[in-house]
Symmetry: C2
Subunit: 218 residues, 2 copies
C-alpha cells in the first residue's frame, strides 16, 4: 500500500472508532488512548493524521449531519407552484422527521450540539458549508409560504424555524427539563410549526429587520 493509502486507511479507522464511541457513549467518553488502541496505532500518531482531536470529532459530526440530511431529504419538497397548505405540511413533516432522527440517534445527535472547538479555534469552512445544507431544507417551503421575502431573509427565517424546532425536540427529549411522551411531543411540535406558519404577517416583519448585513454565514 502506498503511504498516502495507509494514511487514508488509518484516518478512516480512527473516524470509525471515534464514531462508535460518540454514537454509543457520547462525546465525554472519547479518549485519545482508547482511539489509538482501537485503530491500532500509537497515541501520538493520531496527531499525524488529524491536526487535533476537534478535527476528528468534526469528521464524526459530518457523518451525523449527512445522516440527518438524508433523513430530512426523504421529506418531499413542495413543487415551485405548490399551495400554502402543502408548504405548511412539508414544514411539519420536516420537523417530525427531525424529532424522529433525534429520538433514534439521541447520543450522536446530542454530540453534534455539545461539541465546542477547543482553544477558540474557528470552525472549518467545510463544516459550516455542510451545516448550511440542513437549514436549506426548510427554505424551499418558505418560498411558497412567503414569496415576498428576499433570499437573505428567507435563509435567516429558515434557521430560526430550525432553531425553534430544535429547542422543542432537544428539551422534549431531555429527561431533566421537559420530559414528554413521544406522541405528545409530536403533537406539540406539529401544532407549534402550524402556529408559526399561520402567523405569516408577523414573519414578514422579519424582512424589514435590521442587522442582516452583519450575518456571518449568509
Amino acid at each position: 500500500m502506498a503511504r498516502g493509502d495507509q494514511h487514508g486507511a488509518l484516518r478512516t479507522r480512527l473516524i470509525d472508532a471515534a464514531e462508535r464511541t460518540i454514537a454509543e457513549q457520547g462525546l465525554a467518553a472519547l479518549k485519545a488512548r482508547d482511539l489509538a488502541r482501537e485503530a491500532g496505532c500509537a497515541v501520538g500518531t493520531i496527531y499525524n493524521v488529524f491536526e487535533h482531536l476537534d478535527e476528528l470529532v468534526l469528521c464524526v459530526g459530518a457523518r451525523t449531519l449527512a445522516m440527518l440530511e438524508a433523513a430530512l431529504g426523504a421529506v418531499r419538497s413542495p413543487g415551485r407552484h405548490g399551495s400554502v397548505e402543502e408548504a405548511v405540511a412539508v414544514l411539519v413533516r420536516l420537523a417530525l422527521a427531525y424529532l424522529a432522527f433525534a429520538a433514534a440517534h439521541t447520543v450522536r445527535w446530542r454530540a453534534l450540539f455539545e461539541h465546542r472547538m477547543s482553544e477558540a479555534r474557528p470552525l472549518p469552512e467545510w463544516f459550516v458549508e455542510q451545516q448550511h445544507g440542513l437549514f436549506a431544507q426548510a427554505e424551499r417551503p418558505l418560498v411558497t409560504l412567503l414569496p415576498e421575502l428576499d433570499r437573505d431573509a428567507r435563509q435567516i427565517l429558515a434557521r430560526t424555524l430550525f432553531s425553534a424546532v430544535h429547542g422543542i425536540v432537544a428539551l422534549g427529549l431531555e429527561e431533566k427539563l421537559v420530559s414528554l411522551p413521544l406522541p405528545e411531543l409530536r403533537n406539540q411540535l406539529a401544532a407549534t410549526v402550524r402556529a408559526i406558519t399561520s402567523g405569516r404577517a408577523e414573519l414578514r416583519s422579519i424582512d424589514s429587520a435590521g442587522g442582516r448585513a452583519d450575518l456571518r454565514q449568509g
Copy 2:
C-alpha cells in the same frame, strides 16, 4: 462553631468554588481536586458534604435558575383581565429577557443544559420543582391568550413555547451553527413568538392531543 455549622460553612464554600468555575469556565473545567483546594478541605471530604459531584453541580444550577427566575420575574405579568395584545407583548418580553440573560451569563446558562446526572441517577425532586417555576412564568399570559385551555394543556404549551424560545436563543448564541448578531436575534425571536401566538387556532388543537395522562412532571 457547632459541627452542623462547620458542615454548612464548608458546603457553602464548596458551592461558591464550584459556581466560580462553572460560571467562568463551564462544566468541563470542574475537578474535585481543585474544588477541595479552593474550599480548603481534603478531596474525600467533598463526599461527606455532598452525596456526589452531581449534587454539587445541581446546587450551582439552582443558583443559576434563581437568577434566571429573577430576570424573567422582572417582566410584569398581564392582569387577569388584560387584553390579548398585552399577553402577547408579555410573552415577547419574557423571550427577550431570556435571551438577555443567556447572552449575559452564557457559560453558566449553558452548564444548566449540558449537565446530565451520571449513572442514570434520577434528578432530585427539589430541582424538578424549581425548574417548574421557569415555565410557570409563561403560563399566566397564556390564560389570557387561550382561556379555553385546561391547566394541563396550558402547562404543556408553556413548556413548548419556552423550548422553542430556548432553541432560538441557544443556536443563535452558538458560534458553530446559527451565529446571528444580537439585534437580529432579538428581531427573529420577537417575530417568532408573535407568529406562534397569532396562530391561536393551531395552538388550541393541543388541547385535544392525547398522551397527557403520561405526563411526568405535570
